[in-house]
């Protein structure tokens, strides 16, 4: 696994993902590039990086980029990977944002944007239902899903407060249990 790519190579690889990854599902793009195409990481290493990325706060894709970049070329590798991933989308968003500020009062643009926003809500709902399928079907999990939704979504309890109130109970109830047989 010691291909030792240079920082510009890392930047280019992640930049390519940053340009082409329309429509989300970034982790799949990352795996394809890092594991399949470049063989910079083994599938197991990638899975371990994803586990860390999902456990810690922040975006999974950016976290995986940080970990992969660090493994490949230390701190500078991590910076190269994360900036490569984020910069293309940021530039495109600046352009979209300027167009939005300029044309949002145009009737055609406003109608199209309303349709786009409505579709984006549908996408977020689908992702939530898909990722949460297991949690929605488990009564205890469902309780925590709804409790969190009501506190943060409806009553605007501040997120840190909600996390400190709910997370300890949610984690304690899933605490590791000693297997009696051993």
């Amino acid at each position: 696994m010691e291909n030792n790519p240079t920082c510009p190579e890392i930047f280019r690889a992640f930049f390519r993902i940053g340009v082409t990854s329309f429509g989300g599902g970034l982790v799949a793009y990352l795996r394809d590039e890092i594991v399949t195409k470049k063989a910079w990481m083994t599938p197991d290493d990638f899975l371990a990086a994803l586990e860390i990325g999902q456990t810690l706060p922040g975006l999974n894709s950016v976290n995986v980029a940080i970990i992969a970049g660090r493994r490949l070329a230390g701190a500078r590798g991590a910076i190269a990977a994360a900036t490569g991933l984020v910069i293309p989308g940021a530039v495109i968003l600046v352009i979209l944002g300027l167009l939005y500020v300029r044309f949002r009062h145009n009737q055609d643009v406003a109608a199209a944007l309303a349709g786009i926003a409505a579709a984006a809500v549908g996408l977020l709902l689908q992702v939530t239902l898909k990722i949460g399928a297991k949690q929605f079907l488990n009564p205890l999990d469902l309780f925590f899903v709804l409790l969190t939704f009501v506190l943060v979504g409806l009553f605007h309890v501040s997120l840190p407060v909600a996390l400190f109130l709910i997370a300890p109970f949610a984690i304690i109830l899933r605490r590791p249990r000693k297997e009696a047989a051993k």
């Binding site: 706060p57 940021a90 996390l163 605490r175």
Partner: protein, 192 residues
Amino acid sequence: MKELVSLLNVFCLLSLLAVGGGSAVLPQMEHETVSVHKWVSADDFATIYSLGQMAPGPNMTMVGLIGFKAAIHDGMPDGWAFAAMIVVLLAFYLPSSFLTYAVSHIWDSFKENPWRDAVQRGMAPITIGLMLAGVYAVGKTASFNPEHSSHFNALTITIGLAVTAWLFLRRTNPALLILLGGVVGWFFLRGI
């Protein structure tokens, strides 16, 4: 200048609170940027969020546009608006990235710890609850907005549910469906 510091404070905190991904902080982000600081309107927030879904790369890069809009709202010149965008992007991505960088060094030592699994399983439903609150936070403007006619709302809800249903039935690039939503919106939502 004061606003830049506020943006920095709000988005650094959101960065560290984004448990289970960026969508989990959407409800809190909407509350802070729309209701508390009034940097963007509810309409702006929903639109900026949906633009983020269309652009490539991490979808939460759209937070930069909130900074951009906040600076314009505050009457800063355009150059400052770009500065605000960069401040927000750094504030939102750096803290969680530092944390990940640090923890990935020492990860192996608690990889086998049984509490890790407990934390993941315990946090999962909270993340889902937060994402659901995110659907509500964006949807209360984008899908069902009391300021619009019932005809308009019926159509926006239909577009949303159609996208949800379609994605369960078929693997499709979501960016295409969102663009399609724009076409449908342009065609049917004009002037109603």
